[in-house]
Symmetry: C2
Subunit: 347 residues, 2 copies
């Protein structure tokens, strides 16, 4: 097939090596400066220290200093950094590639400009290179990294500006367990992906509330979880519309992705702790060292909503669950879900 270079050796970036390899590509994984130990161990025996999985043989591993070698002749670049690495990716990686090289990012997040306008990461990054014609695309839809390595059946969506480019990328990665829909609705697919990290925290509050009421060993309560799930999908749809995305089509990816994140992701842990009544400071102490993308996206959204409200484009009262999550990130606040505010009337 071709050469696939993955920059970022975190869990999701590295996991993409499996469908790439199964598809007959030459696969190269490059760690960032933060991945030094991970890459060292991967190079020894293919074991990923964080994912706790051994990758299949045949993948080549590179430290960050060897990035240019790893990029040589690549037919596809996969951006495997987390949302905290997106600036680094823009500064350290994108300047090193030719315009015609398709890029597929697994990074999940949104950026807001000074006026509160929300952008998905591919457009945000493209905006940093006004003279260039970069082919930036991204992955959305529900996918837990280690399940992809286990070759579980997985349905995702690739989004980007040009369908032709998306089809080329799909050809390099589709397998009999990795199923890929394509969409040019970058705002819809990518914002859903980013927002689900925020709202998975919201849904998980119910798990913590249940633990507090019944003890952590008791059977989970699903009515409150489902109520928060429904409210989450509702607010996600409104935010996607504010970002210019097609909420009708892409609520599909958002809902599935929210589902998987509540059950399989790290966000469940912080939501559960906050739901149990712990303050944010206490929760962070317990989760020492865990990457909290959910918290970052909540802060971006709340900042943007304030500006958008000021401009008369929305009202923050339409996002009661997002507001509650924001309140919980403040010093010393404990959970108090505004259930009544989820009610609505529609003719």
């Amino acid at each position: 097939m071709g050469i696939v270079t993955i920059v970022g050796a975190g869990m999701m970036g590295t996991a993409m090596a499996v469908p790439a390899l199964d598809n007959g590509n030459e696969v190269r994984v490059v760690g960032t400066h933060l991945d030094r130990e991970i890459v060292e161990r991967l190079g020894m025996d293919g074991y990923h220290l964080n994912m706790k999985r051994t990758l299949p043989q045949g993948i080549r591993y590179f430290q960050v200093e060897e990035m240019e070698t790893a990029l040589e002749g690549a037919d596809l670049l996969i951006g495997g950094v987390s949302s905290f690495g997106v600036e680094w990716f823009g500064e350290q990686v994108l300047p090193k590639i030719p315009d015609g090289l398709p890029v597929l990012m697994v990074t999940k997040g949104m950026a807001a400009d000074g006026e509160g306008n929300l952008s998905p990461f591919p457009r945000y990054l493209a905006g940093k290179f006004p003279g260039r014609k970069l082919l930036l695309n991204a992955v959305g839809g529900p996918c837990i990294s280690y399940e992809l390595v286990d070759r579980n059946q997985t349905c995702v969506a690739f989004c980007g500006e040009e369908m032709e480019v998306l089809r080329r990328i799909k050809d390099m990665l589709a397998t009999d367990y990795y199923h890929i829909s394509l969409s040019t609705d970058v705002a819809g697919v990518e914002c859903a992906v980013a927002l689900k990290n925020a709202y998975a925290l919201g849904v998980s509050l119910a798990i913590g509330l249940g633990n507090r009421k019944n003890g952590p060993q008791a059977k989970e309560e699903y009515n409150p979880q489902a109520a928060l799930f429904g409210q989450s999908v509702k607010e996600m749809g409104k935010l996607i519309a504010l970002a210019g995305g097609n909420q009708e089509n892409n609520i599909v990816y958002g809902a599935g992705d929210l589902y998987v994140t509540v059950f399989g992701g790290r966000t469940r842990r912080i939501g559960t702790l906050l739901g149990e009544g712990k303050t944010y400071a206490q929760a962070v102490e317990i989760l020492a060292g865990v990457t909290l993308e959910s918290v970052a996206i909540i802060r971006v959204i709340l900042g943007a909503l304030e500006k958008l409200e000021h401009r008369g484009l929305t009202s923050r009262q339409e996002f009661p669950l997002m507001l509650e999550m924001g309140r919980l990130l403040e010093e010393g606040e404990a959970v108090d879900v505004p259930w009544k505010s989820f009610e609505r009337e529609e003719n």
Copy 2:
């Protein structure tokens, strides 16, 4: 407040007694001919044999022969029968009530006419009484019956033709744990509720597939579940649109309701068995005696889709998961999820 009479002493019908009672109403529960033992025991000590919960004191219980007494002076009638009892409810209960009495049905299902036109139950029943002006409304949204009895936080939607009537019903039932949205989009809310029973079977196939692959004690796999969840919401939206409902707003209730049904409902059991590779006949034998509303709704939908396709209004190929569920109900067929058919391209 007023007098609330519930006809049907199954789990969901009986559970509605709790918010009705907490709201200060006089509450009367009438069993159908199938509920004789349940009502007998409820009358003794308030214990519900199927739900395995003791109801709060103060509710009055009636056998089916005493229905007219129980309906006397009622301000609200709650229809608590399952979808299999909807004809009985139309023939035995609705003729006994005055037109002005608001009716709220917990029955979840859809009917199709000879041309494949899909109707939510309230409209289907109203069609049987062309000369009358019945006030038929229904409950949608995620709610497990015993969790309502436990007074867990629950967010539902009442739907009906007239907002004023919906507000009156809400006033009689809203509590600090039972939160009620209102909608005049009967097709949207009710079809979502009915369809989630079908698609919860579809999502649960992944649980069975996982059991078969890894053993029932292994950690659940979420990528396949989430893929089926996303596909389910997508197909539900299309079916709601075919029934004339507002899919954009009501996917919210559908997605939350699907979530709760996968985790807390009976449908999970049959989906899991089919996913493990058992035939429908084998699964039914294992589940002896369990009410399979999911199967009934799948058959209604497939029958309707065939006719709608014949009329050029849709193509069955747009519903690959529904088709797979239909195939599984045929003699001797084992699961084979058509993952690739879930892929799509959208510009």
